[in-house]
Symmetry: C2
Subunit: 240 residues, 2 copies
């Protein structure tokens, strides 16, 4: 499925960028940064059977807001693969707060690696030089695929896996949020006028955010740290 | 979709391996090698809208022959992505012979990177230590993602992208065919009693192999080099 309006002609000399857009706070900020940096952006979202499927509608709203092309690719196999509270209804979403000593049950095996690989293919086809992904090492230290070690390991792969590597060009992965706190992300996005009211972060995926899952807790703490009020609606607002 | 019989209990100390199985000659040989090496194998195939969709039936036959678990994951986005004669009906499959100076139109952007990434996720979930992929640098020198440079770049990624990297374990990619000629692959598989009559390689994807597409030409040359007769049926047999 391809949604959103068609791209306008790329301006001469303007570099193409693929932005992985979940519809949450981090990826929305990434999209705002990529657009502010003057790239010709193609946004890419994934329907992987996630419990919080409504984030795809948020992604579409964000892409329309920025006037960029938007693709939603279906990855039905994630539900067959299982192993995560986000793709297996039998595993409940934790609401007791973040435990940094263990990998959370909301971790989806291989997700960022697979997302980056597909973004690489789209970058190749659209002749884009950049891939933006909103991974964040500090808040999500429990997710193996949000670690700087992983991003470093992947750094060279996109170029050598594709036509770019044969033709002497580069596809590079940009992670502008990697070392920011959630509060710094909110501050950065607020300065860029990112429309956070269009985003959704709650893992439970209901109309109003639950306010107590790990994702809601991190988001609320981020807005508090930045001295801002989160514009979306919550059922509860955990004090963290 | 999950097909094939269920895995028997893994024997103590037996390492798990995910084998990427297209149903063609190379991946069948890879499967034969992984089984001969004593691994507890999970075979993984992809339905990516390929023109030669019938290779999936060949993969299922091979998995059943070896008595290993077999998963077929659907990747419908490859047709949206386009850019290849194998996934876009508007681009015809070349039949004039292999031109090593250019990337062939049968190259599918990002394919091996995406396949390896998904195999990595399956290795994580099945606690497998090995991923086997039948890439071959000599015959397919025109495909960017069959180059040793790519395999080297990916080598460290599977481990650091996953739980394995956090828990001090490894997921490693094995490419036993990387530097073999097609003839050497046939000789190796023949010695291992790989049932080549179950495989299919033709890109056109009809009941009988066309005999003139790049894939048929390479396969026929491989059997000729090994001094063997290819057991599958052809409409024509190109002299290369």
């Amino acid at each position: 499925m391809t949604t959103g309006r068609d791209k306008e002609q790329r301006r001469e000399g303007q570099a193409g960028a693929v932005v992985i857009l979940s519809g949450g706070l981090d990826s929305a900020t990434c999209l705002g940064i990529a657009c502010a940096e003057g790239h010709h952006v193609t946004a890419l979202s994934f329907d992987y059977g996630q419990r919080h499927h409504r984030e795809l509608a948020a992604a579409a709203r964000l892409a329309a807001h920025y006037g960029v092309a938007h693709h939603i690719y279906e990855l039905p196999f994630f539900r067959q693969l299982g192993g995560s509270a986000l793709t297996d209804d039998a595993i409940s979403v934790p609401t007791e707060g973040v435990d940094k000593a263990h990998i959370p049950s909301t971790y989806v095996p291989g997700r960022n690696l697979i997302f980056l690989s597909i973004a690489t293919a789209l970058a190749e086809v659209t002749r884009s030089e950049w891939i933006y992904i909103g991974v964040n090492a500090l808040d999500y230290s429990g997710y193996p695929d949000c670690r700087p070690e992983f991003m470093d390991a992947f750094a060279n792969v996109a170029t050598v896996a594709t036509r770019a590597g044969v033709e002497g060009m580069h596809i590079e992965v940009k992670t502008p949020l990697l070392h920011l706190t959630k509060g710094e992300i909110v501050a950065r996005g607020t300065a860029l006028l990112v429309p956070y009211e269009m985003t959704t972060s709650c893992y439970v995926g209901e109309e109003e955010a639950c306010g107590v899952c790990d994702s809601c807790r991190l988001r609320l703490a981020g807005f508090a740290e930045a001295g801002r009020v989160d514009p979306i609606r919550y059922q509860l607002r955990a004090k963290n």
